[in-house]
Amino acid sequence: MRSSVSVDKTLTRSGLDIAKIREDFPNLGRSMRGKSFVYLDNGATSLKPRQVIESEVRYYEEYCANIHRGVYEFSEIATEEYDSIRAKVAHFIGAPADGHVIFTRGTTESVNVVMNGWGRKNIGAGDVILISEIEHHANYVTWQQLAQEKGARLEFIPALPDGSFDLNNLDALFDMPVKFVAVTAMSNVTGYKPDLKTIIDTAHRHGVPVLVDAAQYASHHTVNVAELDCDFLCFSGHKMCGPTGIGVLYGRESLLEEMDPFMYGGDMVVRVKRDTSSFKPLPERFEAGTPNIAGVMGLGAAVDYLQGIGMEAIAEHEQHLIEYTLMRAAEFPDLISYGPADHSSRGAIFSFNLGDVHSHDVGSILDQEGIAVRTGFHCAQPIMRLFGIPGTVRASMYLYNDIDDIDMLFTGLDKVRGIFNR
């Protein structure tokens, strides 16, 4: 059971009232395998607050209608809501205009829209696509396949053994014919947050655009694409308290303007003649067909929810959690933890192995104790190769996690050792 003497633990340094936040998440009241539920798989997807669920229900129950199409009141309301959430998201990430925000299914689609629209047009034989070995498959396989298709080459920002980057000779990488850079803002395996500013500025000095995979980052940190000066930014609603099936692609206007649409269909054309069509301006050109309207409503509620709590406070709270976690991890001599030792460049993701126990066994025993973690290679085989391991156990935290959750994780790990050291 969750301890009741944890007042000082839930009122963290960041000043967030975690106990109160937890009340917003219906899942957290549940039990799993008969134990009270501890959710530490936020890297895979986040839980959803009541406010987000309700906003979807409200759309379905009160003004369910397609957008941009109806002459009647409910369709007008739906359209206004939809457009206003685009503006809200643009503001959330500091985009200069609403039209630079395109709704997709998630990070994966966002990356693929850029690969198809910009990559297929601009990358040719012998060109280099610069990525890294710590990328998620979404931002790795996509560029690898483009390279294969075009006869281009995949090259990597050098990674140190702890999975962080060595940026000392970054400039020299651009002696290669680099045409595009795609890099993560936060590793989903180690929580490592590269120095994006340096990467972007260097790439731009060489006239090369940069795509940032913010799937893990945007849910926990303030993002400002104007300051960061990235060319594309991709993230998913479901990892930031929002619904499944909705994500965002931010793009620099000049690049979006030259891109081919990813899909063709209704709502993205102005005029269809027999053999040619003219397309709508941004962002509609990239949103063919009926979008995930309820998903957009939920995403809007998620942004409101996160902003109501404050992204800075969330980041600070999580910094506290990861520091506490790494401190407790040091008590386990047989625990190998992955990622940079420097806490300040890490988000709240804790990847580890316990002696030679297979991660699946660790995860399975934790499950039996009511604790949800993820095991395996986390859609990131290249970083596993870098570490020379088949997989890890990953505990990934979010705003509603508290010190109790971490303590329960370590109690669970004691149990694992008990079983395997019998």
Binding site: H358, H360, S364, I419, R422
Partner: protein, 143 residues
């Protein structure tokens, strides 16, 4: 339902830890790989066969305790068997985990019944069966 008694019972952990049947066989008569990518199970099986009899069988690779225990039990159970006998044991083992069959193994291989508890943990069944499905492939191909 207690997972320590079902999944992590002594006999399973012993089979998991045993190194007796681990490693490659040089010049094996048969060899095959099997993987459960989503679990991180990745095994190889090696069989040396003489006169239609499995003289030695080993496994190598990485897998969770259930997967490795399943592989070690397989090696123990199939050594010295003809292909026919081996396929019978495989069928009985899979029947125990995938269907409602009550196991009824020979005394010599009654340790296999230790895996029956895995049945209560549906996602682990594919771990337990990885080596068994792999060997079944070898045996069927060889027929």
């Amino acid at each position: 339902m207690n997972y320590e008694e079902d999944l992590y019972k002594e006999i399973i952990l012993e089979n998991y830890r045993s190194k007796k049947n681990k490693g490659a066989i040089e010049g094996a008569s048969f060899h095959a790989e099997g993987a459960n990518p989503s679990c991180g199970d990745d095994l190889e099986l090696f069989l040396s066969v003489n006169n239609g009899v499995i003289e030695r069988i080993t496994y190598d690779g990485i897998g969770c305790s259930i997967c490795c225990a399943g592989a070690n039990l397989l090696c123990e159970a199939l050594t010295g068997r003809s292909f026919e006998e081996a396929l019978g044991i495989v069928a009985q083992f899979k029947g125990m985990l995938l269907e409602e069959q009550e196991p009824d193994f020979d005394d010599a291989i009654s340790d296999l019944e230790a895996m029956q508890g895995v049945k209560k943990y549906p996602v682990r069944i594919k771990c337990a069966l990885l080596a068994w499905n792999t060997v079944e492939g070898i045996l069927n191909d060889a027929k």
